[in-house]
Point group: C2
Chain length 412, copies 2
């Protein structure tokens, strides 16, 4: 069973928003055993929308389109569906009721635009939208399925999870596709490729993809097989082969972020941690606290942007700041030790650097970052160069800092 | 001059990575006066790639494809270009030299895979890639242009900025498209639509798009005109009409984030700010410090996840924490006042809430957040409900907190 994902919106064509819906739908289809083999994006223009519908419906078993179901004048997808399937709109009492209930809970008065939201193509079935006013559309013909969902990401995702993915999964027969992704940090794509060596020797028809990102390269294994158990077995076999070559770079699998892996390690060993950030500006704390339950091991974070705050909150001496400057090995160590001491946490972590876009010098260039680490056995700092783009420096420095703690805990 | 953007990669089709390249290319094309009217994504499969090339090249003036130029076995785009344009690969000495120079600077030894990176289609011109080893491909036929760029985002973006966008801009003649986006916060799409009212009365052929996001709705005005000056004038006229109806929700234009607008206000008034975060976990500090030069007005942030840290760093009394609980109006106010006092900043801002996924109760449900504010004239806290998804709670709470400071400074 194959699928095309059609996303609709001028904002996508001019690059004003990033198309996260496409990826979210693809992930959910894939998990349901449906292969999306094409993604298409067109603008809010009737001819382009109808063209995309025709192209998708003539080739694919499943068409999923999103966007243009909202209450404003630029939302024309519902009309396109009526034209395409030669039907008209009717007011659906159950949709009117749902909308009334939804806005009552939010204390919003009834508006004329809600009447339009209750209009629905006669031929179509409703995909309930528990989180919003625009219902999803489902047309079924000759064993093929056509869906239109609202473009609001969390509404669309809820509808995929609650209704569409389970429905499609129930229809899927034949071979399954299994994926596993090994997440690495601290190695380049070329380095990993060289250490893994010839892949055809162990893949036997499976695929291995190298996916670089600023925080590390992911290695994705994919196996297709008629037998789900056999597919799982082969994925595990290939994983073991790759781990035997590059395990020291692999911190997690699939969607696991390093902050989740690190959190689980801290929890298992009953350790606590505190962070003192200068150039990362709170990003490390924010990543750690993205994980539910992080209050069990994350004692505190401080964002010490000013020298004064480094002195007051971390006990870094003004003499040291004067002598070596805020961006230095000695200050990074003093910050890590200082936040550990002040918080009584087991581990102290720190960053100090020049995130840019200004402030670099020949001796201390833009992108220079010192990362400090302290625990009961001692402390140290490491020096990095992360380039001249502010947000990239923050991102890469936060990753390197979390990697340092992970490597210490793993004994790597 | 119209364009299609083709992105290539199995990782996109299974939704493993979000297609940021598509949006980045679209934005740069649009700024150069080239309208991308279709985006297409296909997998790492020769038939699908060639099909996409055929489809694009037969209809569009400009085809831009990315992905599959890397050094590993799953990168087959270069071969597809040779098949499509009926040519072969040759080793280019200038590419070999560039690669050698690049890896020398990074202290990486020469690998066999670099020989392959220096192979290039005979018929094609080189688009230089200063940041990476994979050169871009440019084929020109009958006034049409076919480009292939590597999929690594920052390499691709640099090549668009330095070479392709200026080249295409020099070819563009005819009508221009001008956009302006007004960024709002604190109002729903329906509320804005109702207050703006009938748009056809003032658009006169221009378009106005409503773009909802978790942090607010953006209103995008687009005008096409043969005369650039006239297009600019009409954009400004429509902007003025919209502002006359909903100005109290508009904090910025185009790519301005609220943290940038707020930062400019603080700087202009020589005010400083400090933040005490519980449930947002450092996200507010990280957003503020995403802005270059924020050290001028951001004195410090503290992430006080534990009660102990609230007492030690903010002087919140244990009696208050016992009586009202950490998630309460009184503690939010005490935190804002505490961080203001400790830092001697002009403004103190705080968050305390239940981000989930566990910890809610009937009285204090998941998603309950108190945001505290303190300045020389006094202090207050406001109560919010942000739902039951941890990352969404963090995101929405950070936005609401920044909005509170912005509204105070603007006197709204």
């Amino acid at each position: 069973m194959n699928a095309i994902i059609i996303t609709i919106g001028d904002e996508l064509l001019i690059g004003q928003i990033i198309n996260t819906n496409q990826a979210a739908i693809a992930r959910k289809l894939n998990a349901a055993g449906v292969a999306a083999t094409r993604m298409l994006t067109v603008g809010d223009e009737m001819g382009a929308i109808l063209g995309a519908f025709r192209e998708g419906w003539s080739v694919y078993d499943v068409v999923i389109a999103t966007g243009g179901l909202g209450p404003t004048h630029d939302d024309i997808t519902k009309k396109a569906v009526c034209t395409f399937f030669d039907t008209t709109l009717e007011s659906r009492p159950e949709l009117r009721l749902h909308i009334a209930e939804l806005i009552r809970k939010r204390g919003i008065p009834w508006r004329v635009s809600y009447e339009e939201q209750a209009l629905f193509p006669v031929k179509a079935g409703v995909v309930p939208n528990p989180l919003g006013t625009a219902a999803g559309i489902h047309v079924q013909e000759a064993g093929k399925h056509f869906f239109v969902l609202p473009g609001v990401p969390y509404e669309m995702q809820e509808m995929m999870d609650a209704t569409i993915a389970p429905f499609l999964a129930s229809l899927v027969t034949g071979s399954v596709i299994r994926h596993r992704t090994l997440r690495t940090t601290g190695a380049s794509e070329s380095m990993l490729a060289a250490e893994i060596g010839d892949v055809q020797g162990f893949l036997n028809g499976a695929t291995l993809a190298f996916l670089p990102s600023p925080t590390g390269v992911r290695l994705r294994i994919s196996v297709q097989d008629a037998n789900p158990g056999e597919a799982d077995r082969r994925v595990s076999e290939i994983e073991a082969t790759i781990r035997s070559k590059v395990s020291r770079f692999i911190y997690g699998v699939d969607e696991e972020e390093i902050q989740a892996v690190l959190g689980a390690l801290l929890r298992a060993r009953s350790l606590t941690m505190a962070v003192a950030e200068s150039c990362t500006g709170g990003l490390i704390a924010s990543r750690i606290t993205d994980i539910g339950g992080s209050s069990d091991y994350f004692e505190r974070g401080v964002v010490t942007y000013s020298n004064r705050s480094k002195e007051e909150l971390l006990g870094v001496s003004s003499a040291l700041l004067d002598r070596d400057g805020a961006v230095s090995e000695s200050v990074a160590i003093a910050m890590a030790e200082g936040v550990r001491r002040a918080s009584a946490a087991d581990i102290g972590l720190s960053t100090t650097g020049i995130a840019g876009p200004t402030g670099g010098s020949a001796e201390k260039p833009l992108g220079l970052v010192w990362i400090g680490y302290a625990d009961a056995s001692g402390s140290f700092a490491r020096r990095f160069l992360f380039g001249d783009q502010r947000l990239r420096v923050k991102e890469r420095a936060s990753q390197a800092a979390l990697e340092i703690v992970w490597r210490r805990l793993m004994g790597l």
